[in-house]
Symmetry: C2
Subunit: 225 residues, 2 copies
């Protein structure tokens, strides 16, 4: 379960201070499938990086399964990330000198999981890239790189998946296959938060949170699928 | 005017040869606004890189304003790119150590255009980023980086604009502003080719070419807007 309590986050650049997240509060239950929408620059990725324990907050609190992340040290946060959270980065963040397979296998090596190569191949097969395993990122199309990033995020069977614009570079058919994948993973009990600017992707989620200029809007509740 | 004649392009990786563009032929008239669509991995960016004189072809021909690019040397191609073509890269290709303003100003410095700073500021203002001019790419959101890439492509008033997925990271409202911008530039007589996987962006164009597995499909002609 995720509890975000009055989180504020600012970036300081020289004299300028940008207040990007303003008193953001919301709760996510285990097994939710939630869309986070909002204009470009509204603070979605900044919030996702905090949820993924990749960035700090200025004030407020963030509880993951009841424990505040402020009470955990860097090693504990790294441990939580590698075991429980799968993160799809908006800019993919693939390692350029490694093949698609090696990129997807990396989280399994960190968490010392067995059969890492076989699991990485299965994840690439699920996103439709079993014929591109040996390609390095610069030998792949934009949407193929994005799908490698998705495969890497799901390979470790995480309890929480945070996907930042996972279909931005995909055509509708391939994009729907990824949404179907998220539905399947969600039915297995995984909690999923998807940042998207495509309304038909947001409509596929159970809940939708909308961000405007760092302020979370009143939630428009949807019926469960 | 662009004439693509039976272009073939393959990538060789070790023992494997990937035939990515297969006998691609089409013509674009001056002042056309054309959408290029197709599934992820179908060859759109590969074709765009050839049109932008950034990549070579294996056989066939590509005539730009009546002259084959095969007959031009590297200096001439660089000259054509800097003066006549604006390219929006799918992965933005911004220089990380330079501010948004410096990134947009760069093409003007190459072509020794006057008032480069003022023109760069105007281009950033057109894409809605006049309050982010001093930010470096890693201090910008995904969609903001994409808009800096668009500003850089238009700053030199190019006759031909090649935009590879220019709205992939933008919310609908910001995306429509970019499409409106392309409409305005097209009405001024510029030729524009947009790769997109968003059907409503493709519908805003005069023509639509669809790529499937490296083969250009029969064109579905639309009435002029
Ligand atoms: N440098 C390379 N070496 C080997 N294969 C490559 C290389 N670059 C691209 N490819 C392959 O060529 C095919 C076409 O790639 P391209 O980037 O043109 O696709 P695309 O239509 O732009 O896809 P997307 O919509 O995902 O961006 C892909 O299957 C890709 O794996
Ligand atoms: N490191 C940084 N330093 C300064 N400002 C930053 C930094 N990172 C982001 N910003 C600013 O914070 C704001 C929010 O950025 P964020 O990436 O969260 O937006 P977003 O909602 O994900 O946008 P998009 O949909 O375009 O990806 C933006 O206006 C951006 O310019
Ligand atoms: Mg973002
Ligand atoms: Mg592409």
């Amino acid at each position: 379960v995720i509890e975000v309590l009055k989180v504020n986050k600012s970036y300081t650049m020289g004299q300028e201070k940008l207040h990007v997240l303003k008193n953001v509060s919301f709760t996510v239950q285990k097994g939710d499938l939630l869309a986070l929408t909002g204009p470009s620059g509204s603070g979605k990725s900044t919030l996702m990086n905090i949820l993924g324990c990749l960035d700090s907050i200025d004030n407020g609190d963030y509880l993951l399964d009841g424990t505040s992340v402020l009470k955990r040290n860097a090693n504990q946060l790294a441990d939580i990330r590698s075991k429980n959270i799968g993160f799809v980065f908006q800019n993919f963040s693939l390692l350029s000198r490694m093949s698609a397979l090696e990129n997807v296998e990396l989280p399994l090596l960190y968490s010392e999981t067995k059969n890492s190569k076989k699991k990485a191949m299965e994840a690439l097969d699920i996103v439709g890239l079993s014929d591109r395993m040996k390609h390095e990122p610069n030998q792949l199309s934009g949407g193929q790189r994005q799908r490698v990033a998705i495969a890497r995020a799901i390979v470790n069977d995480p309890a929480l998946i945070l996907a930042d614009e996972p279909t931005g570079n995909l055509d509708s058919k391939t994009g729907l296959e990824i949404i179907d994948l998220f539905h399947r993973l969600n039915k297995e009990g995984r909690t999923i938060i998807v940042v998207t600017h495509e309304q038909d992707v947001a409509n596929e989620c159970h809940r939708q949170l909308h961000m405007l200029d760092g302020v979370l809007q009143k939630e428009f509740f949807k019926k469960r699928k």
